[in-house]
């Protein structure tokens, strides 16, 4: 029983980390209908930045978190302004173009990272002890990373739902023409959305690299993870993404403990496929929802 409770706690904590990883992708998809295939590479880049900040300057990953987020904010803004905004087109034509562009971008980011950091796995040691709560022991690093991820996601969510700028992101997502009629500069909103989504990827990377080692080629896998989450939650649906992140965290932790890590990787996709078969719109998804 104790094992089950511990595993459940671990799963829920991993859910928080997954949530931050996926929320940026969700935000970008929600506002722009762009699936950013470079999202995982942004996460890895954020993580490797945190690694360098730790290795060169001895910076704590929690201090590297905002720096990685800020750097990726700038990169995201540059990508949106210099690339995606210039290839926009209406409907499926636009979706295909942006998909191809971000697919190419993922290679550019991964290979640029390779030039800087090489191909070896890097990780950042962080709070290696355990937090003891009665008979239950939780790794302190996971607890801290998860709480930071939850806090960041919550802040972004509050900003999105309570401020007028946040609401203008929702408005643009739901009707770009309606937003423009309100005098909202939708190009600026898209720039902000992509930059913010990228910043969340960068921040997530700084936390995740303390939990699992990164290699410049880890990005693809992380993109699939993040995409699985938002597809599971219903694209563009925040509550759904949260539920999916917890579900994925729990599934992964339990599968790893009882079935081993190779089987765990498969189990996640089996759950994913099962949910899509039963609820193709995602756990809480509705068509057209943001």
């Amino acid at each position: 029983m104790l094992t089950v409770i511990t595993l459940a706690l671990l799963g829920l904590l991993w859910g928080g980390v997954y949530l931050l990883m996926a929320t940026g992708l969700n935000l970008i998809y929600g506002v722009m209908k762009v699936v950013n295939l470079a999202h995982g590479d942004f996460i890895v880049l954020g993580g490797l930045l945190a690694f360098s900040l730790f290795a060169e300057a001895g910076l704590n990953p929690l201090a590297a978190f905002p720096i990685a987020a800020l750097v990726l904010f700038g990169i995201g803004a540059g990508v949106q302004f210099g690339l995606l905004e210039r290839i926009t087109a209406a409907g499926s034509e636009g979706e295909l173009r942006s998909l191809l562009a971000t697919f190419g971008l993922s290679y550019v980011v991964a290979n640029a990272s390779f030039l800087v950091w090489g191909s070896q796995f890097q990780s950042v040691p962080f709070l290696e002890g355990a937090v003891q709560a009665g008979p239950i022991a939780i790794p302190a690093g996971l607890l801290a990373a998860s709480l930071a991820a939850f806090a960041a996601t919550l802040l972004i969510h509050l900003w999105l739902t309570t401020t007028i700028t946040g609401k203008s992101l929702h408005a643009t997502a739901q009707s770009a023409l309606g937003a423009a009629s309100c005098g909202i500069d939708v190009r600026r909103v898209r720039l902000l959305a992509f930059a913010l989504g990228s910043a969340m990827a960068g921040g997530a990377g700084a936390l995740v690299i303390t939990l699992i080692p990164f290699q410049t080629s880890t990005g693809g896998e992380l993109t699939v993870h993040a995409f699985t989450l938002i597809a599971l939650g219903g694209l563009g649906n925040y509550a759904g993404a949260w539920l999916a992140a917890e579900l994925l965290g729990l599934t992964e932790v339990f599968a790893q403990f009882y079935l081993g890590s190779n089987a765990a990787a498969a189990v996640i996709y089996i759950v994913f496929i099962a949910v899509l078969v039963v609820r193709p719109q995602g756990l809480l998804g509705q068509a057209g929802r943001v």
Binding site: A171, Q174, G178, G183, I184, D185, R289, V290
Partner: protein, 257 residues
């Protein structure tokens, strides 16, 4: 001296791709005036409004609003100049509440101003007050159209541009909607409305133009046009002016006749 024009179109051609859907249109509207653009489905009414709002590029001619050339300005910049736009299909934010949607109409104003204007809208459209926390996607067609118009008014426009406001509404709701619009005119607001529903629009506006195949073929006081058999003829397959003029006065219908 007549007052200077608020909106002026000179030789405006516009369309999708290189094929014009609008041919050399001249149009002028003074402050506080009301103008209805009527015509059959596909006659170019919406194209004309989209050209004014910068949703499609001009192929020729120019548009001025309050003396400023609109060429090259994005839709949001035109809205900021004082054009309130309620587009075809309403373009509301289905997942946002009525109150939030209204506030977004004045997104650049400080919170206190946004709230004050939002409350003014609840006075103009009292039906929206109990719905303030309801998501726009759950509203009826008439309520949605009220929100679309109220949202356009939130920016304190001097010109209101309405694209087919009566689409999908019951005759009683259309009458109610135009009654609310008529009350707004006291404030000196100019209104440009494109309508397939000619009867409702002609009763509301002081002047009207008829749009046919991308040309403005008739123009004049709305009362005169309402009795003009050529207006009925402008609608596809409608050459029987007798039905047009003999139509009952109460309530507009969705079909032109």
């Amino acid at each position: 001296m007549p007052p200077p024009d608020l909106l002026r179109l000179e030789g405006v051609s516009a369309g999708y791709g290189r094929v014009p859907a609008l041919h050399a249109v001249d149009l002028a509207l003074g402050p506080g005036e009301t103008l209805a653009i009527i015509g059959a489905n596909g006659a170019g009414k919406s194209t004309l409004l989209r050209a004014i709002m910068g949703q499609i590029p001009l192929l020729g001619g120019q548009i001025r609003f309050a003396g400023t050339r609109l060429d090259g300005r994005a839709t949001h910049a035109r809205a900021r100049l004082g054009i309130g736009y309620a587009p075809e299909g309403r373009q509301l934010f289905p997942m946002l509440s009525v109150a939030d949607t209204l506030e977004l109409g004045a997104a650049r104003e400080p919170a206190s101003v946004r709230r004050a204007r939002r409350n003014e809208m609840f006075v103009i459209f009292p039906k929206l007050l109990p719905l303030r926390d309801t998501r726009c996607g759950l509203l009826s067609g008439g309520e949605q159209q009220m929100v679309a118009i109220a949202r356009a008014l939130m920016g304190r426009p001097t010109l209101l541009v309405l694209d087919e406001p009566s689409t999908g509404l019951a005759p009683r709701v259309i009458a109610e909607l135009y009654a609310s619009l008529a009350r707004l005119l006291d404030s000196g607001l100019a209104v440009l409305v494109a309508e397939q529903n000619a009867r409702a629009a002609l009763r509301f506006a002081r002047n009207a133009v008829v749009c046919e195949d991308g040309h403005l073929t008739l123009r004049g006081p709305a009362k005169t046009l309402a009795a003009d058999p050529r207006v009925a003829a402008a609608y596809i397959g409608m050459h029987d002016a007798g039905i047009w003029s003999a139509a009952p006065a109460g309530g507009a219908s969705d079909a032109p006749i």
